[in-house]
Amino acid sequence: MKATTTAQAIYGRPTSAKRIETGVFWLLRLCTYFVLLCAAFIFWDIGAKGGAVIFKSSAPFINVPFLTEAPETLNVFDYQGGKRTMGDRAFRQFKAEHEAELKGVPVETYVYSAGGIFPNIAGTVLLVLGSMLIALVLGVLSAIYLSEYATDGPFIRFLRLAIINLAGVPSIVFGLFGFGLFVIAFDFGVSLLAGWLTLAFMVLPVIITASEEALKAVPKGYREASLALGATKLQTIRNNVLPYALPGILTSSVLAIARVAGETAPMMFTAAFVMRDELPWQVQRWTEFVFQGVMALPYHIYVVASKIPQNEYTRDVQYGTAFVFLFTVAAIAMTAVILRQRLRKKYQW
């Protein structure tokens, strides 16, 4: 065997070790991009098919009725040699006008396949806003306690254990809990209030953890300097800790919004109705407002995806709803992810 000089070795030819390395790295790369591709395909599929429902080629370019009307039953029937499709209200009127011609004409009906999803959007927004408000107040205050006040002891250890375990509880168990406690034991009924509390408790651990992280990222020097100037602890937190942690808390919370909006299981027992004629604000008193159930987008997707038979008429409402929901949540999450990256760069203390 010819001895190689150091120089030869350094400039060396590809050895088998190197070739294996390249191969393995390509495999890893392949796995990674496969995951990305799968996700991209889902976005593409729902984006393309749902986009066709939401966007129009002519002005106003957006399917306005789909976003502003309530779901209706679709009626399909033959009329003057052609197939006509009509929502329930339009059909009733049409039937009154053309009673004679429609006699004996078979009408097929498809539930929820006409109209739009406005009440669902409104209900989802209400659910998310309310639960986030509750979760933020509880979560941020808890995080302040954990990061600023807590001293190690049995209480704190127990508290951390509770938070960690709460984070792992499956959403359906939260649903059972909300149903058993708020809907039945407290007799709130299927209502916004029950949904708010259930969802808020569900994201609470996420918010606490994220907020605590943001608070801990504020340099200790700020606290010390403030205290050394004779500020009380509360003054220090209010003036010199919370303001700097707030952006971090908020961006993490935005990600939590995506989670709240996306969790269907808890809201289907506690807050969501399959169908409701009134809009949430059509109530007499405010107490009725919090004790009313609402329609919600994710539950609507579940209902239209599982309960009604698959056919060309239902496909539109399915993909349209999924599109609106997915891309709203995705936009929220995207904003949070981007904001977070910016913030990480900006706040490097």
């Binding site: 020097g221 010390e224 100037l229 004779g230 500020a231 009380t232």
Partner: protein
């Protein structure tokens, strides 16, 4: 499992030959000065670990007292006891003895810690201006005390910045962020912020360790000026600094007070061989 080879010890550059120390305090320390801080047989614990053993020393009014000693000798711990900053650390407590300021035991449960900290200001090792404007930094202490008068705040800002020899440099950008200043300016801002609340005592925890020589010189000059008004306690790693700007020096080693005397005595004629070894640069 992977077995890992033991990591090589970091190589240590041997310290240079013993440095000659220039000691030139402006005036001999006034032995008659009243002791404003009396530390009496103090033991201090972090949980079960004892960080300070039986410390006794009196700190005279309107003089600069320096705490020196190698890392981990307890000098910063003692400093942080003086305004009870150690309360922030779990399990840290004065386990025996008393620290009295103006005759009041500061660890007495009746003592209002907020008032204590207003009276005993502190400047930290790492300059820590708040990410606010210079003006807001200076007025922070007064605002949280409820001072709202704009005229009074303006006056305090000018006085404090002049006091910290910073006024001429920043008077035109009082409302710009303090984070835009240089390191030395930031540290002097922190000093200005501390004197804005008119404390009696200012504690400085290695205030120049992160500064370049020029900025250090400015801060030292400032310390000279400040001692006319305030009692100053400074912790430093830098023996020349202690020699240059302190009136009295305490040398700590392994949590014990080894020697406490006039700075001149400590550096020129130390009584204890450990002190001598340290000040002549043979260890630490």
């Amino acid at each position: 499992m992977v077995t890992l080879a033991p990591m090589p010890e970091p190589t240590v550059t041997p310290s240079a030959a013993p440095r000659p120390v220039a000691v030139a305090p402006a005036a001999p320390a006034n032995p008659a000065a009243r002791a404003v801080i009396e530390i009496d047989d103090v033991d201090f614990n972090y949980g079960a670990a004892r960080a300070l053993h039986d410390i006794t020393l009196n700190i005279p009014e309107r003089q600069v007292t320096a705490f020196i000693g190698p890392s981990g000798c307890g000098k910063s711990t003692l400093l942080r006891c003086l305004n009870r900053m150690n309360d922030l650390i779990d399990g840290a407590r004065v386990s025996a003895g008393q620290i009295r300021i103006d005759g009041v035991d500061i660890n007495d449960p009746r003592v209002d810690i907020i008032e204590l900290r207003k009276r005993v200001g502190m400047v930290f090792q790492k300059s820590n201006p708040f990410p606010k404007s210079i003006y807001e930094n200076i007025t922070y202490g007064l605002r949280i005390q409820g001072q709202k008068s704009k005229a009074r705040l303006d006056e305090v800002v000018e006085r404090s910045l002049r006091g910290a020899a910073l006024w001429d440099e920043v008077k035109d950008r009082l409302h710009e962020s303090a984070l835009g200043m240089s390191g030395g300016q930031q540290q002097r801002l922190c000093i200005a912020r501390a004197i804005a609340v008119e404390p009696e005592i200012i504690l400085m925890d290695e205030p120049c360790s992160a500064l370049d020589p020029i900025a250090t010189a400015k801060v030292e000059e400032l310390i000279h000026e400040l001692k006319k008004q305030f009692t100053i306690v400074i912790v430093t790693h830098n023996m020349q600094q202690a020699a240059r700007c302190s009136d009295r020096t305490a040398f700590f080693y392994l949590g014990k007070l080894v020697e406490y005397a006039d700075t001149r005595t400590i550096f020129m004629n130390p009584a204890n061989p450990q002190t001598e070894a340290y000040v002549s640069g043979r260890f630490g």
